[in-house]
Amino acid sequence: MGVFLLRRAILAVLVCLTVLVISFALTRVAGDPALAVAGPQATAADLASIRTAYGLDRPLPAQFLDWVVAAAHGDLGRSYLFREPVANLVAARLPVTLTLGLVGLSFAIVIAVPLGMLAALNEGRPLDRIVTGFALLGQALPSFWLALILIILFGLRWQLLPIAGVEDWTGYVLPGLVLSFSAIPALMRLTRSGMIEAMGSDYIRTARAGGLSRLSIVCKHAARNAAMPVVAIAAVQLGFMLGGSIVIEAVFNLPGVGFLAWESISKNDFPVVQAVVLILALIYIGLTLGADLLNAVLDPRLRAQ
């Protein structure tokens, strides 16, 4: 168990380093960042002084190393646009994105898991087909379109929930719901297939032979075994959601990291883009590592290895 985690940790570090290189390279593809800072009216002298100020006149590998070393100390550079340390900008927005992700995941689990179990217990019957069909529809729905429709409904027709900003918790409801739709189909299908497999297993037959109640058989014995792959997927889905929150934040005008990244991309604010890509990647890596840990906790057989 310890060896396994160590291996995964080393792998995670290597992936981090690669992502560092990727996100660094990403922003240098555009050409001269100094132009972005200075604007189109800059003179050559302006550009030169900007380059020196931001260290852009040093060779690329040196710039990369500078950045890595600084990042390790928590210094993610300075935003060209906001003239603030990137770390501050990100730190201010990250809670919003994380909250959004968790709300989205919670909605997804609360909706997908019971539906998946319902479909599994009614396998082949109309209810199963309806639920599976619903998942299919959800998979095809463009999230930004759903968001706009909900905004029209809740902004125009029913003034129940806010459609922009996050003054209080209600501001997370609609965005969280839209975000959850990206994970619901996969989670529902996995729950369903896991439950079908569990319910057909020998230990369930033993439980029935022991006279246990249907409730216990379904919700305790079968569900526990079906949950294991779902947990791993749920963590991965959260990672995807955090990466994909950019669209939702843009539509609902949420002050999160994704929105920040979008603005920064449009305005060529490279330090911010670099940093956000890195942060999100780190979170994803952490989540997958966490999912492995959680799996080990849930499955006694893994702990022994």
Partner: protein, 274 residues
């Protein structure tokens, strides 16, 4: 039975969209780029508009139906090309990793993990923003980023096939590596990959619409459905059909492709976990 009906519906949707994309632009009386500011935001015929613009006009007076039909072309084109590109990359990686195992496989798995770790949309936006937006760039960007599922499926199926007798027989008979891979391995994993391909086309179409919606995808004035939704966003409270129509088109097309993909999955018996 339901499965057959569903797949049939999916095939019909794809076929219809293909037809529309191919001959639609020549059938519609207007062209998608001509602006007519006197005719801005005319409602569609069924909401009281004149018959001149069947689906109404957008905020610059361009015929909506013409843009919708042209947009079908863009969606299908990008979807197919991006899926093709990502397929080539992903399948190559997956087959190599699955066939050789060992260090090669470790590298392949590492590359896949790195790709999965980076936030997809963000990176795509950054690339398009850096290099400039055009159809080609969007296709290449999506192709460079969407290969992970191809790689994973190609890898797992290659590993299953590698140990089968006919592969060993071909190797024992002295067949070259290229021959073994191309004639023994790939044909036997092809059906799994076809299923992945259909789902990747759908994903590419969805992602392109997201990029275009955020302003960093297909460049205006090209009528990508995502772009049309973005343009219509400002007017959606008063003229909701501006975003409903292209959104519905996107939804139905992606649904159709997914239905066909599921049908293929059932046909080939390749249902796997989730």
């Amino acid at each position: 039975m339901t499965r057959h009906i569903a797949t049939g519906i999916g095939l019909f949707i794809i076929g219809f969209t293909l037809l529309v994309a191919l001959i639609g632009p020549s059938l519609v009386p207007h062209d998608p780029f001509t602006q007519d500011l006197m005719q801005r935001l005319q409602p569609p015929a069924w909401l009281g508009g004149s018959g001149e613009h069947l689906f109404g006009t957008d905020q610059l007076g361009r015929d909506y139906l013409a843009r919708l039909v042209y947009g079908a072309r863009i969606s299908l084109l990008i979807g197919a090309c991006a899926a093709l590109t990502s397929g080539v990359i992903g399948i190559t990686l997956g087959v190599l990793g699955g066939f050789f195992g060992g260090r090669v496989d470790d590298v392949v798995m590492f590359v896949i993990t790195c790709r999965l770790s980076i936030p997809l949309i963000l990176v795509a936006l950054a690339i398009v923003s850096a290099v400039g937006s055009s159809l080609t760039i969007v296709v290449l960007t999506l192709g460079l980023l969407l290969w992970d599922r191809f790689a994973v499926v190609a890898r797992t199926t290659t590993m299953q096939v590698r140990n089968l007798d006919y592969v060993a027989a071909a190797q024992a008979a002295g067949a070259s590596l290229w021959h073994v891979l191309a004639r023994e391995v790939v044909p036997n994993i092809a059906h799994h990959l076809v299923v992945v391909a259909t789902l990747e086309v759908a994903l590419a179409i969805l992602l392109e619409s997201v990029l275009s919606f955020l302003g960093l995808g297909v460049p205006a004035p090209l009528p990508s459905w995502g772009l049309m939704i973005a343009e219509g966003k400002d007017y959606m409270f008063f003229e909701p059909w501006v975003i409903m129509v292209p959104g519905l088109a996107l939804f139905v097309l992606v649904l159709g492709i997914n239905l066909v993909g599921d049908g293929l999955r059932d046909l080939f018996g390749t249902r796997s976990r989730g």
